[in-house]
C-alpha cells in the first residue's frame, strides 16, 4: 500500500468513526473507553520492555532517572560483551533451545495421538477423562515441587536438562491435547473413512489425516516451545551447576550476583533471550491463530 492509499484509508476510517459517534454516542463512548484501556495496557507492557531494550544500546552507566526514551548515543558494547565475554549465548541459550525443542517433540508425540483419540474414538467416561486431564493442570505447581524433587533425586535426574524438558512437556500436554482434540473435531470424519475404505488401517488413516492438522500442530509447537523457554522455577529448583542453566535462570543470576545491576548488560541479555520467541511469533502468527480457532477445511 502506498502512503497515499494509507492516508485515504485512515481518513475514511476517521470519517466513519465520527459518523458512528454522531449516530450512536453511547456506543462510541464505550468503544472509546475500550480502546483507551487497551492502549494503556499495551503501554504498561511495552514501555518497560522498551526502556530495557533501549538500555541495551546505551553506553554503560548512562541509565539514569528520568529515563531517556531515545538513546542519545547508540552502542553495541553491551551486546558484544554478553556474546563474547559470558556463557550466555554459548551455553545458556543452547541449553534453553535444547530444552524447548525437546519439550516440543515430546508434547507433539503425545498430544497429537491423544487429541486424535479423544476426537475420534468412542470411549467410556470421555468427558470425565478430558476434564480430569485439565484438572491436573490446576494443581499449583509449587505444591508438587518437593515430591517431584524427591522423585527426581531417586531416579537420579536432578541437575540435568532432561528434568526441565520432561516437566515442561508434562505441563503443556493437557492443554495441547485439548487443542488437538478441538482441531481434529473440525476435520471431517469422511476423510478417514475414505482412507479406511480405500485400504488404510486405522493407524495409517491417522497418519494421513495428521498433515491436515498442521495449523494446530504449529500452534501446539509454539505454545510448548514458549512454555518451556520461559520456565523459571523448575530449572531454578531442579538444576544447580552453571553448565545446566537456562536463560531465565541466567538472567536471574545476572541481577542477584552483582550488588549493582548493570541495566545495559541485563537489557542486552534479555533482548537475546526474547529474540527467538519474538521471531517465532512474528513468523508463525497466522498459523498460530488458525491453529487455535479451528480448521478451514476445503475438500
Amino acid at each position: 500500500m502506498s502512503m497515499k492509499q494509507r492516508f485515504i484509508k485512515a481518513r475514511y476510517y476517521l470519517h466513519n468513526a465520527a459518523r458512528f459517534a454522531k449516530i450512536y454516542p453511547e456506543e462510541a463512548l464505550i468503544r472509546a473507553v475500550v480502546i483507551f484501556s487497551l492502549v494503556s495496557m499495551s503501554v504498561f507492557f511495552i514501555v518497560p520492555l522498551y526502556w530495557l531494550f533501549s538500555a541495551a544500546f546505551k553506553p554503560p552507566n548512562s541509565v539514569g532517572f528520568p529515563p531517556e526514551l531515545v538513546p542519545s548515543t547508540i552502542t553495541f558494547e553491551n551486546l558484544n560483551h554478553i556474546i563474547v565475554n559470558t556463557e550466555f549465548v554459548g551455553t545458556f541459550l543452547v541449553n534453553s533451545l535444547l530444552v524447548a525443542v525437546g519439550a516440543v517433540i515430546i508434547v507433539l508425540a503425545i498430544a497429537t495421538p491423544a487429541g486424535y483419540a479423544f476426537s475420534r474414538y468412542e470411549m467410556k467416561h470421555k468427558r470425565v477423562l478430558m476434564v480430569s486431564i485439565l484438572f491436573v493442570q490446576m494443581i499449583p505447581f509449587l505444591a508438587m515441587i518437593i515430591p517431584l524433587y524427591r522423585i527426581f533425586a531417586i531416579v537420579g535426574l536432578l541437575d540435568t536438562l532432561i528434568v526441565i524438558t520432561l516437566v515442561s512437556a508434562a505441563n503443556t500436554i493437557p492443554v495441547a491435547t485439548w487443542l488437538m482434540k478441538g482441531y481434529f473435531d473440525t476435520v471431517p470424519d469422511g476423510l478417514e473413512e475414505a482412507a479406511r475404505v480405500g485400504g488404510a488401517s486405522r493407524f495409517q488413516a491417522f497418519r494421513i489425516i495428521t498433515p491436515l492438522a498442521k495449523p494446530a500442530l504449529g500452534a501446539v509447537a509454539i505454545y510448548s516451545f514458549v512454555g518451556a523457554w520461559n520456565k523459571f522455577i523448575i530449572p531454578l529448583t531442579f538444576t544447580s551447576s552453571k553448565s545446566k542453566w537456562v536463560l531465565p535462570v541466567a538472567l536471574y543470576k545476572f541481577i542477584s550476583r552483582r550488588g549493582v545491576v548493570e541495566w545495559g548488560l541485563l537489557g542486552a541479555a534479555t533482548l537475546i533471550a526474547m529474540l527467538p520467541v519474538l521471531i517465532l511469533f512474528v513468523v508463525f502468527q497466522k498459523q498460530f491463530v488458525a491453529g487455535l480457532t479451528g480448521a478451514e477445511y476445503k475438500g
Binding site: P188, G190, A195, A200, Y297, G299
Partner: protein, 378 residues
C-alpha cells in the same frame, strides 16, 4: 462383480434403532437404489455393507463369504461420499491413486497406468496435476468416483453422491453414473433421498423408512404398485392423493367431509373402510358438467405451471387438497369449476389399520367411467 447378501441386518446406536431387520440381496451387476427420507437408515445400511459400521445383528456376505466382522479396508467395497471426502493436501492424481497405493499390490508404473485409464474414462485427464481446491463440484465428484473405481472393487457404494451438485449437473451425473455402472457391470448400491433420482437410475429400488425396508422392486413396480401407504406417499411427484373411503358393491365411496366425495367403481371384497389413492396424473378433469357418482364438481383453487405439465389444486374438506396433473396447454385456470374423477384402473387401495396395500387383482370392472381429459403420461 459380486452378489451381496444381507440377512436380518439390524443396527442400533444405543437405544436408537437405525436399521431394523433388513433382508436384501443385491444381484451381481445390478444398480440398486436405496431411497427414503432423511434419517430412515439408508446411509447406515450402506455404511454397514461397506464395513464402516458393524451390524448389531445379522450377517453380510459377499459372493457367499461372510464378511460381517471384516474391516472396511479388506472388504474390497468402494465407497463414494456425499461431500466427496477428497484429501485436500493431495493432488488429483494422488487422490485417485490413493486406494491403489494403500492396497499396495501394484508397482508405481501400473498404478500410473490404471489412474490414467480411469481419468480418461471420466474425462478428467487434464486435471490430474491440479490441487483439489481448484476443482468445481462436478469435477470433485468425478475424481471421487475415479478414486473408488480405480481398484476394480467387488462392489460400489454411492452415498448421496449427487446431493451436493446443482440441479443441471445432477441430471448429467445421474446419466453418467448409470452409463459407467453398465459399462463396468459393477454391483452398485446408490443411496438417495430423491425419489425421482431413484426411479431414473435404479434397476431396482429399495424404499426404506424408520430403518425398515418398505418395498423392493423395479421402479415401475414401486411406482405402479406401492406396497403400503408410506411408499405411495413417498414415490411420485406431486404426492399421491389419498382419501378415506367406504366400500360397497358399487365400489369405493370417498367421504365428503374429508375428500371430494366421489365414487370409484372398483371391485373389492371388503366391508371395512379403506384409504384410496390416486396419483395426480391419473385424476381425470373435465370442463363439461359430468353428473353421476363417479364425478365431483370442484372449483380450481390455484394452478402451478411446471413446463410440460400443470398442477391443479382443489380444496376438499378441512386442510385437504386434491391435486391433478394435466398437460400445460390445457386452458384450466383458477376459479373455474370443473368435474373431477379418478381413473378406476389407476387407483390404489390401502388398509388404514395396517397401511398395507389391498390387492386388487380381483377387480372386475375395468371400464372407464367416462372419457374425461386424458391424463398426461409424462
Amino acid at each position: 462383480m459380486s452378489t451381496i447378501d444381507l440377512e436380518n441386518v439390524t443396527k442400533r446406536f444405543g437405544d436408537v434403532t437405525a436399521v431394523e431387520n433388513v433382508d436384501l440381496t443385491i444381484e451381481d451387476g445390478e444398480l440398486l437404489v436405496l431411497v427414503g427420507p432423511s434419517g430412515c437408515g439408508k446411509t447406515t445400511l450402506l455404511r454397514t455393507i461397506t464395513g464402516l459400521e458393524l451390524p448389531t445383528e445379522g450377517t453380510i456376505s459377499v459372493d457367499g463369504n461372510d464378511v460381517t466382522g471384516i474391516p472396511a479396508r479388506k472388504r474390497d467395497i468402494a465407497l463414494v461420499f456425499q461431500n466427496f471426502a477428497l484429501f485436500p493436501h493431495m493432488s488429483v492424481e494422488e487422490n485417485m491413486s490413493f486406494n491403489l497405493r494403500m492396497q499396495g499390490d501394484l508397482d508405481a508404473e501400473e498404478i500410473d497406468q490404471r489412474v490414467a485409464d480411469i481419468a480418461e474414462m471420466l474425462d478428467i485427464s487434464e486435471l490430474l496435476d491440479r490441487d483439489i481446491s481448484e476443482l468445481s463440484g462436478g469435477q470433485k465428484q468425478r475424481v471421487s468416483l475415479g478414486r473408488a473405481i480405480v481398484t476394480n472393487p467387488a462392489a460400489f457404494m454411492l452415498d448421496e453422491p449427487l446431493a451436493n451438485l446443482d440441479a443441471n449437473l445432477r441430471d448429467q451425473m445421474e446419466t453418467e453414473i448409470v452409463r459407467l455402472q453398465k459399462q463396468l457391470g459393477i454391483t452398485t448400491v446408490h443411496v438417495t433421498h430423491n425419489q425421482s433420482e431413484a426411479m431414473t437410475m435404479g434397476d431396482r429400488i429399495a424404499v426404506m423408512n424408520d430403518g425398515e425396508l418398505q418395498q423392493l422392486g423395479p421402479p415401475e413396480e414401486v411406482f405402479y404398485e406401492p406396497a403400503n401407504l408410506f411408499v405411495a406417499k413417498f414415490i411420485g411427484s406431486p404426492n399421491m392423493n389419498l382419501f378415506d373411503a367406504t366400500v360397497d358393491a358399487d365400489g369405493a365411496h370417498l367421504l365428503e367431509e374429508s375428500g371430494p366425495g366421489l365414487a370409484v367403481p372398483i371391485d373389492l371384497d371388503r366391508s371395512d373402510p379403506i384409504v384410496l389413492g390416486c396419483r395426480p396424473e391419473h385424476v381425470l378433469v373435465d370442463r363439461d358438467d359430468r353428473s353421476g357418482g363417479g364425478w365431483a364438481t370442484l372449483e380450481i383453487a390455484f394452478t402451478e405451471f411446471h413446463g410440460a405439465s400443470k398442477y391443479l389444486f382443489f380444496d376438499v374438506g378441512e386442510d385437504t387438497e386434491l391435486i391433478a396433473r394435466v398437460d400445460s396447454d390445457e386452458p384450466f385456470a383458477a376459479g373455474e369449476t370443473v368435474s373431477v374423477g379418478f381413473d378406476p384402473e389407476q387407483v390404489h387401495a390401502f388398509d388404514p389399520a395396517t397401511d398395507e396395500r389391498i390387492d386388487q387383482s380381483a377387480r372386475t370392472d375395468r371400464t372407464r367411467i367416462a372419457e374425461g381429459t386424458r391424463p398426461s403420461d409424462d
